[in-house]
Symmetry: C2
Subunit: 199 residues, 2 copies
């Protein structure tokens, strides 16, 4: 915009490229930052540069790490023989918030997608078979999203690993805890009915 | 969270303090930044530091500026004798997007509020009378928000300026362009009816 300092316009444009922020919320955020220069703007810029300088991808599992390998791969207590395959680091964080899984992860970095020409080589799929053999994995949990691409990827990985003899499982499908039937889609209700269990 | 690098947690906490972002969207934004380190994370950190180093408040009008005074105060074409009083820089930006106002601004930096103990001295109100006298202002347009605090502040300023002989106006109230009557609140419809004009 005319009559707005160029530095401010540049910052607004960049903030608007973050997921969840549009031009309007980017303007609000930048104005907030300018008003909180000492307590938010400068510390945020420093935190970003520290992340840029220290954070890298764990070469073993694809998680983000600050050391040679990530904290989960480095923790001997997590060598349970269980390996949880997720699409993205955000899914790994979601699993960790759940707190129920005590094994290690394998972050694919996406899903197979013919449309975006993402094949197994673009993901971390070739490494997976090697990990299963080398790390004494007994169970691979396919915790991929319940989308078409996610399930296609899960089936591809199941095929790839079928010769290794490893146990393959996936997350249960059903009614979310606290979920109301009236708000659930038909597919979830059907899946929950099929997988019904003794009370 | 355990098993997440401390640097990442710090950045997520700071991002979550921006207006419009919560913990969940802050996590998404940070993960996006980590993936776009070269094209977004580093340039964003630099843009923030540049803003922190260069952007300041215009001592005359309260707009944000990079020079001694802001671009609008420095532009001789905008010495029209009209002065538009707004609450915040975001309102100044909104007026400028409208593009209809050719004069200068006076940014109060908030509204009078007994609850938050914000009096005239906390805002830029004492400076306003001085500007009206010294800059040959002929009309003061009170473009304050149509909230209780905004209108209280407008009345206070009108009282303050009553002795100067300057013309005082406020923005028209009525139906927004493209607005549907059915979605408007009763107060706006009443105001639009009272201010009806020949067709």
């Amino acid at each position: 915009m005319a009559n707005r300092p160029r530095e401010i316009d540049t910052l607004i444009d960049m903030m608007a490229r973050l997921p969840g922020l549009g031009p309007r919320s980017a303007r609000r955020a930048v104005l907030h930052l300018v008003k909180k220069r000492a307590v938010l703007l400068l510390p945020l810029a420093e935190a970003m540069q520290r992340v840029a300088a220290t954070v890298r991808e764990c070469p073993r599992c694809g998680n983000i790490a600050t050391a040679e390998i990530c904290e989960i791969c480095a923790d001997p207590d997590r060598a349970t023989g269980e390996l949880c395959v997720v699409e993205d680091v955000s899914d790994l964080w979601a699993m960790e918030r759940g707190g129920a899984f005590k094994g290690r992860y394998h972050v694919l970095g996406g899903t197979l997608s013919a449309l975006d020409s993402i094949g197994p080589e673009e993901l971390r799929i070739p490494d997976l078979s090697a990990r299963v053999r080398e790390e004494g994995i007994t169970e691979v949990i396919l915790a991929l999203n319940a989308t078409v691409d996610g399930q296609t990827t899960a089936h591809y990985i199941a095929d790839e690993l079928s010769g290794t003899g490893v146990r393959l499982t996936s997350l249960a499908q059903g009614v979310p805890i606290g979920g109301e039937l009236d708000y659930l889609d038909d597919g979830t209700i059907s899946a929950a009915l099929k997988a019904r269990k003794g009370f």
